[in-house]
Symmetry: C2
Subunit: 275 residues, 2 copies
């Protein structure tokens, strides 16, 4: 099994930590970043694309994971073209597949297409920012878009509930399409129930941490220790991390890849051949 997961969001929203948490290993060395001396504001910040690959084990199944990171997105004072290098990357990977399809025996093609894009929303508590909306509109027809609320331990339970409603409202008003696992008529009731459970939490309010810490009642958990308490990453009362993990690497891994292959890629191919 392989999965190509793109991660996008402004700096400092916990993206590297979340990736490490999802796959329970330090894919991203966190202590190298951050740097104190940073480029002068007169020099524009460029968006770059970086990939990191690793083998992960999930349910005794080996998963070849590639994370496509986009440092520099939204970091500058003028972020008008921040989205372009990212859309270029998605398109290039479609083009690579297109070329390979023509030349190679299809069963041996390596699938480098972007299977899902996690978009990190800043936990302002208000609603989506113009930058969020612009980016999502540029990619939602090309990639399975999964918006998440970053660092959701910033928000109380009520604030999260209201924020989710406003985000979904913005998404609907702006005509943005986010990934929803298809409803298979043939699925048993239990599978459908699990699917609905996961979907009902979107956009997922996530918290990331690979730090083992002790709770007040003595359990050792992955979490963040504050003077007023410990937030537990794997506790569904505290955040939707478990739901996100289920969606991306367990329940809907195949759906993400099939939708990319059968719908998003086909649309791209059709558009390209028309021109």
């Amino acid at each position: 099994f392989t999965l190509n997961l793109m991660v996008v969001g402004e700096k400092g929203l916990g993206k590297s930590t979340l990736i490490n948490t999802l796959f329970n290993r330090e894919l991203y060395p966190l202590d190298e970043k951050p740097k104190a001396a940073f480029p002068s504001p007169e020099k524009p910040v460029k968006v770059s694309i970086e990939t990191v690959s690793a083998d992960i084990e999930e349910n005794n199944v080996k998963l070849g994971l590639t994370v496509i990171d986009c440092p520099g997105f939204g970091e500058d004072i003028d972020n008008t073209d921040s989205w372009k290098p990212i859309v270029d990357e998605i398109n290039q990977r479609f083009d690579m597949y297109l070329d390979a399809e023509i030349k190679i025996n299809r069963s041996t093609i390596v699938d480098n297409r972007v299977h899902a894009c996690l978009y990190f929303i800043e936990p302002t508590g208000h609603s989506l920012k113009p930058l969020d909306i612009q980016f999502m509109k540029e990619v939602h027809q090309k990639v399975n878009l999964i918006p998440v609320i970053a660092k959701s331990d910033t928000l109380t339970e009520n604030e999260i509930a209201e924020f989710k409603l406003r985000i979904l409202d913005d998404i609907k008003n702006q005509g943005i399409h986010i990934f929803t696992p298809p409803d298979y008529v043939n699925d048993d009731a239990e599978t459908k129930e699990a699917a609905h459970e996961i979907i009902s939490k979107a956009p997922f309010a996530i918290v990331g941490s690979t730090t083992q810490t002790q709770t007040q009642d003595g359990r050792v958990v992955r979490g963040r220790a504050y003077p007023w308490g410990v937030i537990e990453v794997d506790n569904e009362e505290h955040c939707d991390f478990i739901k996100l993990r289920q969606l991306v690497i367990r329940n809907f891994l195949e759906e993400l890849k099939e939708n990319t292959s059968n719908v998003l890629y086909e649309n791209y191919r059709t558009q390209k051949l028309i021109k």
Copy 2:
């Protein structure tokens, strides 16, 4: 006593809440904002200047507080000129005073100059953003600049300590001048000690709330209740809110106004008369 306090920072950093907390009353009706349907990203977001005035009691002394808010700052996709309307506002207030000085008996002039500017830094955990640096450089010679770490309950104690060091590093490297209460030779040791105590916490890691909530051990406090614990605004183990309040409306209110009058305004006046 009067104080003109400017508040600047990106949307959703808790500015309105912090003002309400500082003065323990709902100067800003929080439930009117936020709005779900928001302007399309194609329309540029304009920075506007809004003022709110109220009488506050502090130590049985009445304080006439004016808060100068700058909604729209940093909100757009392109924030290149975000700082301009704010600097214009500072200058206009200097000009008003300049005109008044010429025409009116000085003892009856109303002082509308900006006495301090609270700049809200997003709690990324990394370092200052280009937008932060650009803004601070545009205003630090015109106003008493007091940077604060917004929503600091997002960060653990260690993260706050490291973040403060990196911010102070950036500030030093960029030649940014932040407000430091002067060290009076004649002050007694206790006053000097109090001053150092306050200064050593800069930039203040703040949390705001006007909500009364109950802690696990039964005390009722101003704070934010999470499933994993309650952060207390007035608890110096939890954040630097008390220190900020002491700086702005108790210990150094007069210093802020004197520095504005004797140094910042004089520089502005000199520059203006030279031209």
